[in-house]
């Protein structure tokens, strides 16, 4: 490599010319600071918007909640409608729409809960009858639910009957079944409402 002496003034002029084409370190620092500030502002705005989305999303259920809060919403609503000013009327219309939504939600919830509860009642009814039949069989000294394979036995079944063998009595079974049935109900969730393909 060969070094060539260059006059200081020329060297300086060239360097200044080069430097003028680039941003200074101080300016760079400022740019970075500005960008950071921008990011932080955006972050704050995002947080505000998210808060707003959350607020809007939650807006309906609380309205419904106040409505099914033992009729308190209804009373407030009728108080609103007695006030005559136009602005309040508009508010009251919103209130009515809210309440209608609330009522529909409430009816839907109630229907679902009632249907689910009825599932449990029906199933428990089956288990209660199972327990009653079991008790009745044992108390009566033994009419076993017919397993008789001949006519003679079928006729006999109508009469005295026989004592069930120990294995068939399974004491305590009915109580177990009841508990099982109840916990089973808890699992009746998220049933598919699709139709079978058959």
């Amino acid at each position: 490599m060969m070094r060539v002496p260059v006059p200081v003034r020329l060297r300086k002029a060239v360097r200044t010319w080069f430097d003028s084409r680039y941003i200074s370190i101080a300016d760079h620092r400022q740019d970075i600071r500005d960008a950071l500030w921008e990011v932080q502002t955006l972050r704050r705005e995002m947080a505000t918007l998210q808060g707003e989305v959350e607020r809007l999303r939650n807006a309906r259920p609380p309205a419904a909640a106040t409505t099914h809060g033992a009729g308190a919403g209804d009373k407030a609503g009728s108080a609103d409608s007695r006030v005559g000013s136009v602005g309040v009327k508009a508010d009251s219309a919103y209130g009515k729409a809210d309440r209608a939504y609330g009522k529909a939600d409430d009816a839907h919830r109630l229907a679902q809960e009632t249907a689910k509860a009825l599932d449990g009642v029906l199933q428990n009814e089956v288990l209660v009858w199972q327990a009653i039949d079991d008790l009745r069989t044992r108390l009566a000294g033994g009419e076993v639910p017919a397993t008789s394979r001949t006519t003679a036995e079928a006729v006999e079944r109508a009469g005295a009957g026989r004592v069930p063998p120990e294995a068939e009595r399974t004491p305590g079974r009915a109580a177990d079944e009841l508990v099982q049935g109840r916990s089973g109900d808890e699992r009746v969730r998220g049933r598919s409402e699709e139709q079978p393909c058959a």
């Binding site: 009632t114 009825l118 599932d119 029906l122 039949d133 079974r173 009915a174 049935g181 139709q195």
Partner: protein
């Protein structure tokens, strides 16, 4: 299990060893909702074995050791229950019912049962219509069983509509037949009146031989639901009502082709939801559209996308019931790579040659049809479908291996 019929109302009580969650013959867990149901549109009296068998199609999943009926059954029926399920049944004391002369078609109005109906042009229809249960909340009002019943009436064929809420005895997986055979509960109670010796179902190749539906998904010559020598086949035969599967040897592509070429084509409806026509938005509509587009050699016509929840059943990785028909469709529908099925093309190596076996009839299925009705079905299949070659038969018999 103790079973009591009051007229056509059935109630059943669990024995101490019976449980709320039982198993259907395909091993699927079945949860009991309630222990009563009724069957409408049937006569008040019939052979006791028919009442017993109709009840058994409903209570079988929840019966563990024994079943007692409210009237004495024949020794032959009790024996079939014992051999098939290990269940003690009684009381015994009736004469066996001899088979009648006629064959009824368990007619749903879908492509499969319409194909069965096309084979036996004179056979009467028995249509099962779901009605709400008076004690069980109906969460499924979109199932338009009334629409299907009206379509069945319009066919002009000899028809008995059986109304029943028996599907609501099921809590889970959803209301439906406790056993697949419960669809015939009404036909069984009508068997004496209609002089039935057999009931024809629309179960096709996939259900009978490939372990389809929700069963094992492999070749099942001894299928417990549908083989004549299986537990249900023997039990129905003992009551003098044979199970007949006229389309048991052909795929859903063939049943659809036969149905859409038959006189009944305007009444074919496989969708359970639509009113004026198929809804086009349920999983079943999508599946059937794939098959129909395949046999008509036209592009897929569906508003559904891969995002539809109902489409997911057909977009998953095999194996699943009905997979053979998806493969058949993928190989034949033009432009399938631009539809929602594009993403599943990789799962299959589907070509027309590799799925051509689904266009022919599996001969053993014809051999299984009871003698009085075999010749008619065999002649029909030979004329309209054609039998499988040796290689095609092998495709059936190695399915799922």
């Amino acid at each position: 299990m103790r079973v009591t019929w009051t007229g056509a109302d059935l109630t059943f009580r669990l024995d101490p060893d019976d449980e709320i969650t039982g198993k259907a013959s395909d091993e699927y867990p079945i949860k009991l909702a309630t222990n009563s149901c009724s069957v409408g549109g049937v006569p008040g009296d019939a052979h006791p074995d028919l009442f017993a068998l109709a009840a058994w199609t409903i209570v079988a999943p929840w019966t563990r050791r024994r079943v007692s009926f409210d009237r004495a059954i024949s020794a032959e029926l009790a024996e079939a229950l014992h051999v098939g399920w290990g269940i003690d049944a009684g009381p015994v004391g009736a004469e066996q019912r001899g088979p009648g002369d006629r064959l009824a078609i368990s007619y749903s109005g879908g492509a499969d049962s319409v194909a069965a109906a096309a084979i036996y042009a004179e056979a009467p229809f028995v249509h099962f219509q779901r009605v709400p249960h008076r004690r069980v909340p109906n969460r499924w009002p979109h199932y338009r069983s009334d629409v299907l019943a009206r379509l069945a009436e319009r066919t002009g064929r000899e028809l008995s509509v059986v109304t029943s809420d028996l599907e609501y005895t099921l809590a889970e997986p959803r209301p439906g037949y406790p056993e697949h055979h419960a669809v015939a509960a009404g036909a069984l109670l009508l068997a004496d009146q209609l002089d039935l010796g057999g009931v024809a179902f629309g179960y096709e190749l996939g259900s009978r031989w490939l372990g389809g539906d929700r069963y094992v998904l492999r070749y099942t010559p001894d299928n417990p639901m549908w083989a004549p020598h299986g537990r249900w086949g023997r039990l129905f035969a003992a009551a003098g009502v044979h199970i007949v599967l006229p389309v048991g040897g052909v795929s859903e592509a063939v049943t659809m082709r036969l149905a859409l070429n038959s006189d009944l084509r305007t009444y074919v409806r496989w969708c359970l939801r639509g009113t004026d026509g198929p809804c086009r938005a349920c999983g079943k509509c999508l599946y059937k559209e794939l098959i129909q587009a395949a046999i008509e050699r036209r592009p897929l016509d569906t508003p559904m996308t891969a995002r539809h929840r109902a489409a997911q059943s057909w977009l998953k990785k095999p194996p699943y019931g009905g997979q053979e028909m998806v493969e058949y469709g993928l190989a034949r529908v033009p432009g399938i790579e631009h539809t929602l099925f594009a993403e599943v093309l990789d799962y299959f190596d589907a070509t027309e040659e590799s799925s051509a076996w689904l266009d022919h009839c599996y001969p053993k299925a014809l051999d299984e049809i009871p003698a009085p009705w075999r010749a008619e079905a065999a002649a029909y299949m030979e004329a309209h479908v054609g039998l499988m070659t040796h290689d095609e038969v092998r495709r059936v018999e190695t399915w799922g291996t």
